[in-house]
Symmetry: C2
Subunit: 350 residues, 2 copies
């Protein structure tokens, strides 16, 4: 058995508080621990085949890991003996990006099966986890340039997870440095938490007598989404739906591929309305216009716009030199999210 | 261009002082840095594709890496773009042990050559270095159980290094967790330092205004051997002989395979005399007998015995309950060093 911890945020954040709670779990899961984080597009990775709770490095790192995407793992070996090469996370490169993977479960059946023969990526260690990762990477590689489509990539990962998941428990965290993908196929074995502003709440670690006033450690426009095997704090952790792939980016859940392989967004109705209005307009749209069209007061409309900016869906038109919350401020959809907006939010067929 | 740093010691030591000097070099070698160390037989490894001098993790690790064997690398990419998968050191497992490798130089010619076709170990990244490592591991694997012979293994590594070295600069550090192997084929591009007691000396870092009185940070029976591209301190760093493989263990140079592939030890004549006397005796040998046979006073004889214990060649016979320096204290040769003593020190044919 192992435990997983993942983070997606809209800016580089220190993960010390919640991750500290996670590393405590290393007392039970004592065969090793690892943490990978992205530094721009490069991966940094620390792994040790010993308990995190006994590692001075793990303690030191608590004040040193700052990133938008973090994947961490504590391990109790089921497959493969305790060794560096069997310690999660694993890294492979696909075209210009490095991908990181960590797994909780057992799908060792795929290792002997001819259906899962590897072509291009091969494991260095002995685990079924690294094998499954190589199989996923082989298939993503076959997408060729389509790997740049978040829709195509998410659907492919879901299909592969669904296929591998037939062989046993398959909970994983996967990232390409921009998105964090999370999948679970056994109820209640992965949870997510959205830590969005305002951060006016006392947070207490589950396993330790340690409490913080979140506003003190989080800036007002910091969005983070966390994934963990078990809730790590007294906040509102939500169980993942089984056999669903969650796609996290910029501290939010951007997309879900549900248990029937269908795409779902996680936005509110009003957020969808704002995106429809802005996306279908040939030019950028004024805040005042949004406020009127939606029948919302200006401040409310601005709060929705601000959230959509934090989640990476909207961007302010900088040619209009007015403050963000001015009625004349204008907004357009973030180019990198347009595929997602069109396909999943607005259901526009290309 | 890159720089290498290696350490072998007779006990777990903190590498903070000299390694600190090494990491300063990360300002020039800015494509990445990595450090691997052994924790018992397991490997811990930290790698980042960014300058060590800008890494908070590197600073934190200065007080956290404690081991008998350390391999560190700062990288200026010549082959393969800056990425985690191209950052040294690399790890592979052979039978029960994990091996670590870091390289300085360029032998990219071997990657296209049919003579260097890989069989069992394959690179994850794009570097000639990882490729060369896989080639070495493939060949060590073919030794089968003979990989447990330090003589056979050292000769094999020397032969492989000699072969690969025809393709360019090939300086490397390699370890199996017990021995540290070091090879260089360009004069003056690797140096070793023996830091043996008494540690009564002021040591100053070359690149920084930083000085320590070694006795304060080293215990009186701490033996360490260090390898670095350039001298890191004002101590007596010795250039490695080109095309020679140095085999370090327990903080000493145990063995050298010279540029003609011949085995040499690095012991003094008196040390060899002591080992001959003890090894050829059917029982353990008394200190007083050693002292008389060699014509040395008891204290001098004891000092030689103590150094041979630190270097892992001798062991006290615990059945004789007298202090180590008593005339009646008895010593025998360390079983793990007998192959080395017989073959290299005493030139006994089996």
């Amino acid at each position: 058995m192992c435990e997983l911890f993942g983070l997606s945020a809209n800016r580089d954040v220190l993960v010390n508080f919640t991750w500290r709670g996670f590393l405590e779990r290393g007392e039970i899961h004592y065969h090793g621990w690892g943490v990978a984080w992205y530094l721009n597009k490069g991966v940094c990775l620390v792994k040790e085949p010993r308990p995190a709770s006994k590692s001075p490095i793990a303690k030191l790192l608590l004040s040193g890991v700052k990133s938008r995407i973090v994947i961490s793992h504590v391990r109790f070996a089921s497959q493969g003996e305790p060794a560096y090469i069997n310690t999660h996370p694993f890294v492979r490169k696909l075209y210009k990006r490095e991908w990181v993977f960590a797994h909780n479960g057992d799908v060792s059946g795929i290792m002997g099966s001819s259906e899962f023969r590897l072509k291009y990526y091969f494991p260095v260690g002995d685990t079924d986890s690294e094998y499954a990762f190589c199989y996923i990477m082989d298939n993503l590689r076959e997408l060729s340039e389509e790997v740049n489509s978040i829709i195509k990539t998410s659907k492919t990962i879901w299909e592969l997870a669904d296929e591998i998941g037939d062989y046993g428990k398959f909970n994983f965290l996967l990232s390409n440095g921009e998105y964090l993908f999370s999948y679970m196929n056994r109820s209640g074995t992965l949870h997510y938490l959205l830590r969005h502003p305002p951060h006016r709440v006392y947070v207490k670690l589950e396993d330790e007598d340690f409490e913080v006033w979140l506003e003190e450690i989080k800036s007002p426009d910091e969005y983070a989404a966390l994934i963990a095997t078990k809730p790590l704090t007294n906040e509102e952790w939500v169980p993942l739906e089984p056999n669903s792939l969650y796609v996290l980016g910029d501290g939010s859940i951007l997309l879900k591929v549900n248990n029937r392989g269908k795409l779902e967004h996680m936005l509110s109705e009003t957020e969808v309305e704002v995106l429809r209005l802005v996306r279908t307009n040939p030019r950028s749209v004024e805040l005042i216009r949004l406020s009127r069209a939606l029948g919302l007061d200006l401040n409310h409309a601005y709060n929705i716009v601000r959230a959509l900016i934090a989640k990476g869906f909207l961007r302010k038109d900088r040619r209009y030199l007015v403050p963000m919350n001015s009625p004349e401020a204008r907004f357009f959809t973030e180019p990198k999210r347009r595929e997602l907006i069109d396909t999943v939010v607005l259901r526009v067929r290309p």
